[in-house]
């Protein structure tokens, strides 16, 4: 679980957005939406950085991350053969709903990566699904084609309308009258909370600042509707829509 992974590649795929492929143990990955916690050796980045598993196979893990602060900036400078100390897989991940007929993947920005694994699973299971992907602007768009390649209808929307539709993901869902009876979502908290307020049912992946990433510090506790809580790193990051306290 505490392992050294080697960087195979680390390429820029959109504005400040990088795709990194890591070589190492993937045998413990159980579900799409799990994440890894990356140690970045620098005195300014004392804590690990949690990043979702976007895709994986028997030997590699793919992550997609946006340069946000110091840690992701350093991560973006890593090259082939550099080693990274990684804890993972962590968290629960998305559980594929095999009953709902028409499902929907709803991703915002760097919330999109973990949903790619969901899409692959839905595709494998022959479940019908559409995809709505929201970005800030044209320069931020990535992975649209990857979802199309799985045969899904992909609706791209940008806040400034520079690519696809204009507005947020809910705007598209409403204006296009997209029908679905279950969803998987990841993205900015605002987007997730807006979704929960609607009548849909589904699963949502949340972010919290983490001390440990494996359940030890109580840093990431998220209140749940049963007056209890879940640790985003352990019983999360994926919550059911009915659990979410807004």
């Amino acid at each position: 679980m505490n392992n050294i992974y080697s960087v195979i590649s680390n390429e820029k795929i959109a504005y400040k957005t990088y795709k990194m492929i890591l070589y190492g143990d993937t045998s413990k990955i159980k579900a799409p939406g799990q994440f890894i916690n990356i140690k970045i050796d620098n005195e300014k980045t004392f804590l690990r950085r949690p990043i979702s598993i976007c895709d994986y196979d028997s030997k590699t893990i793919t992550i997609i991350y946006k340069v946000f602060g110091e840690g992701t900036k350093i991560l973006s400078t890593k090259k082939m053969f550099d080693d990274l100390d990684i804890l993972g897989p962590l968290g629960n991940g998305f559980a594929i709903n095999k009953k709902a007929k028409k499902q929907m993947i709803i991703g915002g920005g760097v919330g999109i990566p973990p949903l790619y694994s969901v899409a692959k699973k839905l595709h494998e299971e022959n479940i019908e699904f559409d995809v709505v992907l929201g970005y800030n602007s044209k320069v931020d768009v990535f992975f649209e084609g990857m979802f199309r390649a799985l045969g899904a209808n992909v609706y791209v929307t940008t806040m400034d309308g520079s690519c696809g539709y204009k507005g947020n993901v809910l705007n598209v869902i409403r204006s296009k009258n997209l029908y679905f009876d279950y969803y998987y979502a990841c993205g900015p908290r605002k987007m997730l909370h807006a979704l929960v307020k609607e009548d849909y049912t589904g699963q949502l992946s949340f972010e919290e600042r983490m001390g440990c990433g494996f359940g030890a510090c109580m840093g990431c506790s998220h209140p749940t509707t049963d007056d209890s809580y879940k640790r985003i790193c352990k019983e999360g990051p994926v919550l059911e829509s009915f659990e979410v306290v807004i």
Binding site: M1, N2, K39, E43, K44, T45, F46, L47, R48, L87, E208, R209, M210, G211, C212, F214, G215, A216, C217, M218, G219, C220, S221, H222, P223, Y229
Partner: protein, 303 residues
């Protein structure tokens, strides 16, 4: 090579004790390694009633350290006994240290009374230094009278060895250490976190929802060493030293300062194997430094 040390009421195979709040209730770590290798452990700060704690973000980062404002989230002493400690007992066959927090004297007393009945508890660690709860907590620890009074009250309600955990956020920690010693403490745990804050540059707002938090990690080690060193020079009870311990060398340094045993906190969060690595590395480091028996180096910096 002798790694065993003694604390009031506890004989430890080695001086390494995961610090409260950074090791859950212990059993979570047994998925990483067999936790029976530990000296003992101090479990998550427990209060009389269940507490959800503070709003998130509860965690921030700083150069060589972190800030937390958990706010003593815990399921309450009864659930700890009936649930957490039962799970712990399955994977740990030593006595543990019960870290008890509170807001008022009454709830400290009641929580200690109840936890003292648990047969896995070998000592009480009275947390009078939590910076993240609104009432009580730190307030008890910043004033020698209230620290002594609480210690005395707790001394009366439990037969277990009583360790009092001190705050570094004070003008004169010696005074407080002496006061709790006189009031009946059997040992002193120190230090709890320094109070600190970070501000998000993008928003201009504090990173922590609670504004301030407890600062821990290697950044605070010199402060911890100094305070352990000065308290050692005035009290006659053992000190459990902590603050920024990351490796076996740090353990030795803390013992030189005056600690009879050492707690490891933040290191567990960065690396769940930290305590295991430290314990395994100690013999090598002892050899390098010509140390044969850890008990003999306690307070060496005072000679």
């Amino acid at each position: 090579m002798k790694l065993n040390v003694e604390l009031p009421g506890m004989k430890l195979d080695n001086p390494i004790i995961p610090a409260s709040g950074t090791f859950g209730f212990g059993y979570e770590f047994s998925e990483f390694y067999d936790i029976n290798i530990l000296g003992t452990l101090s479990f998550k700060g427990t209060t009389l009633e269940e507490r959800f704690g503070n709003k998130t973000p509860r965690i921030a980062e700083s150069t060589s350290g972190m800030l937390n404002a958990i706010g003593l989230q815990n399921p309450g002493v009864d659930a700890v006994i009936s649930n957490e400690l039962v799970k712990l007992k399955k994977v740990f066959n030593k006595k543990v240290i019960a870290n008890i927090g509170g807001s008022y004297e009454e709830d400290y007393i009641e929580a200690v009374k109840r936890i003292s009945k648990s047969d896995i508890v070998g000592a009480i660690e009275l947390n009078i230094s939590c910076p993240n709860v609104k009432e009580g907590g730190l307030l008890f620890g910043t004033n020698k009278e209230s620290a002594a009074k609480l210690t005395r009250l707790i001394r009366e309600v439990t037969d277990l060895p009583l360790y009092v955990k001190l705050s570094p956020n004070v003008t004169n920690i010696k005074e407080i250490a002496l006061a709790v010693e006189e009031a009946g403490a059997d040992a002193i745990s120190m230090i709890n976190t320094l109070v600190g804050m970070r501000i998000d540059l993008k928003t201009g707002k504090p990173v922590l929802a609670n504004t301030y938090g407890g600062f821990s990690g290697p950044a605070i080690k010199p402060v911890a060493l100094k305070m352990v060193h000065e308290v050692y020079s005035v009290v006659n009870i053992p000190i459990i030293g902590m603050g920024g311990i990351m490796n076996a060398y740090d353990v030795i340094e803390m013992m030189y300062a005056g600690a009879s045993a050492v707690q490891v906190g933040t290191a567990n969060l960065i690396d769940p194997y930290a305590c295991k690595k430290i314990i395994e590395d100690l013999p090598r480091v002892m050899k390098e430094l010509n140390i044969n028996d850890l008990k003999e180096i306690v307070g060496r910096a005072h000679l």
